[in-house]
């Protein structure tokens, strides 16, 4: 290759120097727009928690015997029939509706189940669950009726509730009022169920009673209705106050105008309890009478039955045997429908014809008393012929007793009349027969019962409805004979349930003697219809039923009409 012979000229430009020099960097700050993130405060502190609380008094348990050693329990109690009552159940005290204050309500709500008390208090027998429920019912109440059917242990429930209240120091002084024949029974039951509680019985002459009423250290005073009325000056007007007044057989005060009712209502007291198997004997008015003692004005006579039942519901506890004692031996009724003997028929027809004619002739002068006298006369003839003493009922009784004696059982015969009882006794000689009625002195009655219970040769006891229908425990008897019928089925039930009750040793056979085509049959029909009517009414309201004859019905026995009332003379 040949070089081009071109002429070149070089000129310094200075660029090379510039290229050899390091570039100059100029920094210029450029501010960025930015904002701080927003933060929020999330509070985690819990607001102050509001509380409310109550303290309850601590009881000195050791002083009260609550921690006493447990008794050896009897596995048998007659009617238990192998059942383990109260096992695996809890019975809690619930406050009644009339307790308003929360602290008072919670005091009851927070009490331990009653079952746990069996570990603290001495019980001769394990109570049945329904009995614990009855105790839980009574315990918090200031006004209560325990109206269990006869034989379910109202006495035991009341005693245990009183015992718990005394131990809890909720009551310190209790007045218990019962019919006179039952005083001994109450003493015995207290000894059994609350042996640590001293009982004072109001009895003896006036000076002694005056002293007894004023014994403040006796926690339970026991008085009978008759003495209470006699001692009303002290019981009512002497500044005495009782924390609890308990009326047994409270149907005694159903008539608000009676002296007994007035005195019991006037006793100063904090709590009022009533025990009765028959709170309604004749009409709902009976219940109003009892409520005048419990909570005056709470019920009134013009209330309809349903409304009355609802108003009374929180105050009354009523259980029937068939509801709670499914293991109780059966009670079997036999209606012995008998013909009068020929002699009795003659006397009966004569008395009836003569009596009805006489009643009819009386016109407006006729009173309930006149009719009543005729009814009684006819009923007596149905028992025994007044002339010769013959009796179809006695013949039947004699035959039945042979069976009772042969099977080594015991029987009770009830009659309205002591005279009939005495005739029966005379007719059954030389059979050993015991009597228990109003003409047996009170001090001898306990001995009669003891002999009947313990003497194997005594198979029969004759009792009047009045003396023997309430409070006695004769559950060793298997046979009951109603030689004549009482006016009121409730009283008959009471009588029958002397034998058919907790601890009954076996089935109880009740023989109701009714002479056919007589006044007895007529009364029986009326009572049966009435009982069914009351059952219907009160089963709605939850209150118990029973019913006797009223005036119209007694007049109706002879197809008579009650004459119009004469206007009262102006006062």
């Amino acid at each position: 290759m040949t070089d081009l012979s071109l002429r070149t000229e070089l000129f310094p430009t200075g660029w090379q120097t510039a290229l050899a020099r390091a570039p100059r960097i100029v920094l210029k700050p450029l501010p960025l727009q930015r904002s701080l993130p927003a933060t929020i405060n999330i509070p985690l502190r819990q607001a102050a928690i509001r509380t409310f609380g109550f303290s309850f008094p601590e009881l000195p348990a050791a002083d009260l015997g609550l921690l006493a050693p447990r008794p050896t329990r009897s596995p048998q109690r007659g009617a238990d029939q192998g059942k383990s009552p109260a096992a695996k159940q809890t019975t809690r005290i619930k406050p009644p509706q009339d307790i308003i204050k929360l602290q008072d309500r919670l005091y009851y709500v927070l009490q331990p189940p009653l079952e746990s008390l069996t570990g603290e208090l001495r019980f001769p027998f394990q109570p049945f669950p329904y009995q614990l429920a009855g105790i839980a019912f009574l315990f918090p109440r200031h006004a209560a009726i325990l109206a269990d059917e006869m034989g379910l242990g109202k006495t035991m429930q009341a005693i245990t509730a009183i015992r718990l209240l005394l131990h809890a120091r909720e009551v310190r002084r209790v007045l218990l009022i019962c019919p006179k024949p039952l005083v001994t029974n109450w003493k015995r039951e207290f000894q059994l169920w609350a042996p640590e509680i001293p009982i004072g019985v109001i009895e003896g002459n006036q000076a002694r009673r005056n002293w007894q009423w004023r014994q403040p250290a006796t926690p339970v005073l026991l008085a009978n209705y008759e003495l209470l009325v006699r001692d009303q000056q002290i019981a009512v007007n002497d500044g005495l106050h009782f924390d609890l007044v308990l009326l047994d057989e409270a149907q005694r005060i159903k008539n608000r105008n009676s002296a007994t009712s007035q005195v019991t209502r006037a006793i100063r007291r904090t709590r009022s309890w009533a025990l009765t198997g028959t709170p309604v004997e004749n009409s709902p008015e009976d219940l109003v009478g009892i409520f005048e003692f419990l909570s005056p004005g709470h019920l009134s006579s013009n209330m309809q039955a349903r409304r009355m039942g609802l108003a009374a519901r929180d105050y009354i506890l009523r259980r029937r045997k068939e509801e709670v004692l499914t293991d109780l031996p059966p009670k079997m009724f036999r209606d012995a429908e008998l013909d009068l003997t020929p002699e009795q028929w003659i006397s009966y027809r004569e008395a009836e014809e003569h009596g009805v004619v006489r009643l009819t002739e009386m016109g407006d002068e006729l009173t309930i008393q006149h009719v009543f006298e005729l009814v009684l006369r006819l009923k007596q003839i149905c028992n025994f012929d007044p002339a010769g003493g013959s009796s179809s009922k006695l013949e039947r009784l004699r035959a039945d007793l042979e069976e009772v004696i042969a099977s080594d059982q015991k029987a009770i015969v009830f009659s309205q009349w002591v005279d009939s009882l005495k005739r029966i006794r005379a007719a059954l000689q030389p059979l050993p027969v015991l009597e228990y009625h109003g003409k047996i002195p009170a001090r001898k009655r306990d001995r009669v019962i003891d002999q009947f219970r313990n003497d194997p040769s005594c198979h029969l006891m004759l009792m009047s409805y009045g003396a023997g229908s309430v409070g006695l425990n004769l559950q060793f008897c298997r046979y009951v004979f109603l030689f004549d019928r009482w006016w009121n089925p409730a009283v008959e039930d009471q009588a029958i349930n002397r034998a058919h009750r907790i601890g009954a040793s076996g089935p109880v056979t009740v023989t109701r003697m009714i002479t056919i085509n007589t006044i007895e049959e007529h009364i029986d029909q009326v009572l049966q219809e009435k009982r069914e009517l009351f059952e219907t009414i009160f089963s709605v309201a939850g209150t118990p039923a029973s019913a006797g004859l009223n005036q119209d019905e007694i007049f109706g026995l002879f197809n008579l009409r009650m004459p119009p009332r004469k206007p009262r003379a102006a006062a």
């Binding site: 999330i42 509070p43 985690l44 819990q46 102050a48 928690i49 509001r50 509380t51 409310f52 609380g53 109550f54 303290s55 309850f56 601590e58 009881l59 348990a61 609550l66 921690l67 809890t90 809690r92 406050p95 509706q97 308003i100 929360l102 309500r105 919670l106 005091y107 709500v109 927070l110 009490q111 331990p112 189940p113 746990s116 570990g119 603290e120």
Partner: protein
Amino acid sequence: MSTRKSSPVPSVGFLTVVDSGGGSFLGGYLVLNASGRPLEFQCTAPVKANRAQEILYGPTLHPYLWGEQIGGALISKSRTRPLFVCTDQLHTLAVRSAVDLPVIQVLPASPPPSGPTSERKLTTTPSSESAAQLILGRYSCALSRSHLNDRVPVERAWKTHLDDLHLREPFERIREAITEAQRTAAGPASGAAA
């Protein structure tokens, strides 16, 4: 240090929390003597966690709310110092960190331990993840893992004073009392209707 008085008689506290609906809870605290009779009852107004607590406490919300907050408030208000406190809820066991009393959880009924119960033999079983177990008579109980030393005073109190006490039944009483208090607060009409 607590200013509460020690009870003059041996006593045990029972603490439980119930759901009152709407995310609210009510706490009840019952102190019983050795016979099971009430000495004191404390109850809270309804307590509700706020939304933040629900989110941030997560699974620890109930131990915090039932144990530390409700349980702590109830026990601190009580005037009686029991020998120990029982609860029937695992969450409420967390109250132990807020109080200076032994706390145990009474576990649901389970078959009794082998051997005669009459001897009241106290035995322990291996602890689980969250709690150590202990047997008081016929009751299986749990202790907080962080307070295993509670075992000694609880066992001692049980043996000395309390071996007849029912440990499950009182929670029913608390629940009934809370219901009663709510009913009363709602007015007499609702009480009457009950």
